[in-house]
């Protein structure tokens, strides 16, 4: 089992993601300018400020060569995890439903939040219990999840809402407290909290490791 962690100009969390992946499997960096996914079994799009967040967050990164390959990989059912800026990139690329808007209170947020595992039957949450609470940090300015009401109904009905902020802990004004959603097929997950920053007791929580552990437990294709 091998993870590939994409690095864009402006990425800043790729090393933490790499280290989190390596707790459970092999992992290597994938350069944004190359279409080659190097035979990895799961792709992680990390946090940061890809291409300076010019125009809109995630808007430019989606046109990079590596994202063409990631799009084909996702269409073929390969697992893709987008964290924070990675979530924004996947929404802009049309690989995930919805969009991320500037936080309701306009401020950059950096704090620990509790999220509930709403759907434990995904490749990303298979080692979690349904309803389990995970303590993970958020750190973003543009994390307010938005989708039209009818689409939100559909996302909930089809089990695509995987993670939700606990009541009273929604940090950014996300619709229906959504912290993480998948595509319809369930093989692409985007989330605003940073599980890669919660894998060592030194930083207060190891709950984020569950996401990487779940992916690592997949049988390689």
């Amino acid at each position: 089992m091998k993870f590939g962690v994409v690095r864009f100009p402006g990425s800043c969390d790729e090393h933490d993601a790499l280290l989190a992946c390596r707790r459970f499997a092999d992992a290597e960096l994938l350069w944004h300018g190359e279409r080659d996914l190097k035979g990895v079994d799961a792709v992680v799009i990390p946090g940061g400020f890809s291409y300076g967040d010019y125009l809109r967050v995630g808007a430019i990164a989606r046109f990079s060569p590596v994202m063409e390959a990631v799009g084909e990989w996702a269409a073929a059912g390969g697992p893709v995890l987008g964290i924070c800026n990675g979530f924004q990139v996947l929404c802009e690329a049309g690989l995930l439903p919805g969009a991320l808007l500037v936080n309701a209170e306009l401020r950059f947020l950096c704090r620990q939040v509790d999220v509930e595992v709403v759907n434990a039957e995904t490749p990303f949450t298979s080692t979690c219990d349904p309803g389990e609470r995970l303590s993970v940090p958020v750190k973003h300015t543009t994390g307010r999840y938005f989708a039209p009401e009818l689409e939100l109904d559909e996302l909930e009905r089809s089990g695509q809402v995987v993670l939700r902020y606990l009541p009273g802990q929604n940090p950014n004004g996300s619709r229906r407290d959504i912290a993480g959603v998948t595509n319809r097929a369930g093989n692409v997950l985007g989330l605003m909290p940073h599980p890669e920053h919660a894998v060592d007791a030194l930083t207060g929580s190891t709950d984020g490791a569950r996401i990487f552990e779940s992916l690592a437990s997949l049988t390689p294709a």
Binding site: A59, E92, N103, A104, R144, F146
Partner: protein, 87 residues
């Protein structure tokens, strides 16, 4: 000069694309500015919306709409208006 004939600069059209958050989407920047204005004595201001303006020169203005749909705006959350100015 060879290669320059196809795109004489004066054949271009100057365009402006105005992009705004869609109605119904909370415009956090607009609200903040709206709340700040009365503090400076500017009363009676409402519905402040903040977007962005993109100016560009194009050879084929018929393609601007597609540019908006695919890159300049995110149609899920933003509306856009295109205005052209002949030079």
């Amino acid at each position: 000069m060879p290669g320059c004939a196809a795109a004489a600069p004066d054949s271009r059209v100057r365009a402006r694309v105005l992009i705004r958050p869609k109605q119904g989407i909370l415009d956090a920047q607009g609200q903040t500015v709206e709340r700040a204005l009365p503090a400076l004595g500017f009363e009676g201001v409402s519905n402040v919306r903040i977007g962005r303006l993109i100016e560009l020169e194009v050879e084929d203005p018929a393609r601007i709409r597609e540019m908006c749909e695919r890159l300049l705006a995110n149609p899920l959350i933003e509306d856009y208006e295109v205005s052209l100015e002949e030079r």
